[in-house]
């Protein structure tokens, strides 16, 4: 298809619809509101559900219900709203529900401000909710990826029965760029969900729950979750490298930071210095093996984040 010049936030919505997302539940917050606004406009045009919930808590629980029914469903918000969703996200991870959560991050703590920041790293990648779980976290750095990674998020959510996060900063959400949209995923290509509670005869014996009263049962459940996470770690690591082959210093950053670093690398290269860029696309699973290998070769890593440093403490080798 031809390219369309479009805002990152709007590309998320079109990508979601192309991926067969049937329901969007949201609540306004800058700089994520365009996602809810675009969803409010487009979802009803194709017979799908848009609802502005009473709160982010309401929204994530509506997604919980929709995902239990087995349809592709999503919500989107920004940092303070994501804090409110954490209980629901933990439940969804525990109940192994497929759903997509978009976070267009802003400044914090507290009300902070609406400027772009990457200080949601811990609450998304390390788990802001309670319990033993992990979320797949995808970090787009352009409008095209806002579409592509949203579509991928639905695919991964279904494949692994897990909530998937698309986390972008306010710049990536607000900027406009050309996007080439793929064709809609045919309905017949969506994976069947025999485990769902779809309100049908075939599914009426099913149960969606995150409770395991017996400690042994819960431990078994968590071990199963972690076996699944290990599978995700071995199959779903994604990253991008730019001029790393001969680099002596490698800049590491994600989201808009990676874009800024790309420009910096180009400038410094012009001065003859050997620098490169490493961009994690999946913040979890983090590309730690690849990064460790690059570091083992004696190169220095230079980690840049729009936060006080969250990825650097926890992941960089």
């Amino acid at each position: 298809m031809a390219k369309q010049f479009i805002k990152g936030n709007e590309a998320v919505v079109k990508g979601a619809i192309l991926a067969g997302c049937r329901a969007f539940y949201g609540y306004p917050i800058t700089p994520a509101s365009e996602i809810a606004e675009a969803a409010a406009y487009y979802f009803p045009l194709v017979g799908r559900t848009f609802l502005q919930a009473e709160s982010e808590i309401g929204a994530i629980n509506m997604v919980y219900g929709a995902a239990s029914a087995g349809i592709r469903a999503m919500t989107a918000s920004s940092s303070p709203g994501i804090s409110l969703k954490q209980e629901g996200i933990s439940y969804a991870a525990g109940a192994e529900l497929s759903c997509v959560i978009v976070d267009i991050t802003r400044g914090g703590p507290g009300l902070g401000n609406i400027a772009p920041e990457q200080s949601d790293y811990n609450q998304m990648v390390k788990g802001g909710g309670h319990g033993n779980y992990k979320l797949i976290v995808l970090a787009p750095n352009c409008a095209q990826e806002m579409c592509d990674l949203t579509m991928l998020a639905f695919e991964l959510a279904d494949r692994y029965r897990t909530p998937v996060v698309v986390m972008a900063d306010g710049f990536i959400g607000q900027m406009m760029e050309p996007v080439e949209f793929p064709s809609p995923v045919p309905e017949g290509d969506l994976p069947p969900k025999p485990w769902a509670t779809a309100g049908t005869a075939e599914t009426h014996k099913n149960l969606i729950t995150s409770i395991d009263l017996e400690p042994d049962d819960l431990e078994r459940h968590i071990n199963n979750l972690y076996a699944k996470y290990a599978e995700i770690e071995s199959a779903e690591v994604r990253y991008e490298e730019f001029m790393v082959d001969d680099a002596e210093l490698i800049c590491v950053g994600y989201g808009v930071v990676a874009r800024v670093l790309q420009s910096a690398v180009e400038q410094v290269r012009a001065e003859g210095k050997k620098v490169g860029l490493f961009r994690p696309v999946t913040l979890w699973p983090f590309p730690e093996k690849r990064l460790a290998r690059l570091a083992d070769d004696g190169r220095k890593l230079f980690v840049v984040e729009m936060s006080k440093g969250m990825m650097v403490h926890l992941e960089a080798v």
């Binding site: 010049f5 079109k14 559900t49 309401g58 219900g65 710049f171």
Partner: protein, 479 residues
């Protein structure tokens, strides 16, 4: 109680396998607990209407968290208080299903107060069964929003006081003031007569849902002998003497008969409908544009002025024209507080290569529509760069000799020549085409105007604005 008279409902499992433990034929509820009675009434109604295969039962956090041990239907266990939101997502995913939100008083009237209020107010087509036992049963007898004044609980050991904890919350009273709910009734799970009434209410609520009549709500006054610390045989009397005076048993609202049944949309949307609805371009337009070797290379552009001067729109048009002419392009607006106080600016990059940062700090080109923008951004233009500013509005002179600066009367031309001052931004666009030595041309800009200008009748005006801008720029550059 009348339990033993009836056969076990088919909507219950025969053996409660999910329950675990030794005795899988009895429930986990305490003797005399109201939950067991209400479960039975619901299961019997599901039997009678043949609903079990299409019902999804949402259990709350509370003693009824394990309702899914018993009901032979789809089951979802929801976070504390959120069952009405979960029910909303479920019901809207499959409007033909029958969705039950089953909740206790802590769950519904306490932590989930907003979820129930808003679901009721939206008229979600679900049935809510609300067990009011005036206490937090599961957690061991703490105060609930429905706890009576003076009543001692583990968290109101001196008795509930209105001045400290407020009054018992009447949910039927509250919800029946809303327009959307079709049916709101309070019943009591006490003697056979009242249980028959409750049975009717449960049936009515479920039938109304099957018929697509809207939101239905049944509150059941129910015993919790364990946490009331009242012997089971006295629990009914306690409901009658203590609860009912505060929570009167009555029909609060019933509009089921007068409501229209909801009609379900059954239209399906194919891939072509989706592409059309999303307004996706299907083929690349044919643009005969050849890049000029003299053009400014990979310009980083800052456009700035007052809000309302079309600054963001001009930036967008520049970027779109760049894309149409085959370049990579980005557009980033200033947003939020930066925009307050009436100034606006945006960052545009047009490049033959993949673009790194979308932020423009030191620009190659500045297009400025007011004095403050010149003050702020002119010093940041790179040596050898280009400044185009609206001389109709800017009274500054530019003190830099290392840049090319052209003051052109964008607003005056738009005003006098085109009769619309608002077109000044596209006059500037024309000037950019000429002064940038053809990053793109007039034809390219013409082709993107319909994409950026929503009002069709303004397109022709802006085409003329571009032409006028090109003319005045040519004149200025020649002199």
């Amino acid at each position: 109680m009348a339990e033993t008279i009836f056969r076990k409902a088919k909507s219950f499992y025969d053996i409660y396998e999910r329950k675990g433990g030794a005795n899988k034929e009895v429930t986990h509820y305490c003797p005399g607990c109201g939950h067991g009675i209400l479960h039975k009434l619901i299961a019997e109604a599901m039997d009678d209407f043949g609903l079990k295969e299409h019902t999804v039962f949402i259990s709350p956090v509370g003693c009824s968290v394990f309702a899914y041990y018993y009901f032979d239907c789809g089951n979802i266990q929801a976070p504390h208080g959120r069952a009405p939101a979960v029910a909303t997502g479920m019901k809207r995913a499959n409007p033909k299903s029958v969705v039950i939100s089953y909740q206790g008083d802590g769950d519904l009237a306490g932590i989930g107060g907003n979820e129930i209020l808003q679901a009721a107010n939206r008229g979600e087509r679900i049935s809510v069964f609300f067990v009011n036992n005036a206490i937090y049963g599961m957690t061991g007898g703490q105060m609930a929003p429905t706890t009576l004044l003076g009543m001692r609980t583990t968290t109101s050991p001196h008795g509930r006081k209105a001045g400290n904890e407020g009054y018992p919350l009447g949910m039927c009273e509250l919800l029946s003031t809303l327009k959307a709910p079709a049916y709101v009734e309070r019943v009591a799970l006490t003697d056979a007569k009242h249980i028959m009434q409750a049975r009717k209410a449960v049936r009515k609520a479920l039938k109304a849902q099957v018929d697509g009549k809207g939101f239905t709500f049944v509150e059941a006054l129910a015993a919790c002998p364990t946490n009331w610390k009242v012997p089971t045989r006295e629990a009914n009397r306690w409901i009658v003497e203590m609860l009912e005076p505060v929570f009167p048993v009555k029909l609060f609202k019933d509009e089921i008969e007068s409501r229209e049944s909801e009609a379900l949309e059954d239209r399906t949307y194919g891939p072509a409908d989706v592409v059309a609805a999303l307004d996706l371009p299907t083929e690349e337009p044919d643009i005969a544009f050849v890049r000029s070797p003299q053009a400014i290379k990979d310009p980083q552009i800052k456009v700035a002025g007052f809000g309302g001067q079309g600054v963001l729109l001009l930036g967008l048009a520049l970027a779109q024209a760049g894309m149409r002419a085959g370049y990579h392009a980005t557009w980033l607006p200033s947003y939020g507080p930066e925009m307050r106080g009436g100034t606006a600016n945006c960052h545009v990059r047009i490049s033959e290569h993949r673009i790194g940062t979308p932020l423009v700090h030191d620009s190659d080109v500045l297009i400025a529509f007011n004095g403050p923008s010149i003050d702020k951004f002119a010093p940041m233009v790179k040596p050898g760069g280009l400044i185009l500013y609206d001389s109709s509005l800017v009274d500054r002179t530019i003190e830099r000799s290392d840049v090319k600066a052209y003051g052109l009367p964008f607003t005056e031309v738009a005003d006098k020549e085109l009769g619309n001052g608002k077109a000044s931004n596209f006059v500037a666009m024309g000037a950019f085409i000429v002064a940038s030595r053809g990053v793109f041309d007039e034809g390219v800009v013409k082709s993107i105007l319909p994409l950026v200008i929503k009002r069709k009748n303004m397109i022709e005006l802006n085409e003329r604005a571009v032409a006028a801008g090109m003319r005045i720029a040519r004149d200025a550059l020649a002199s």
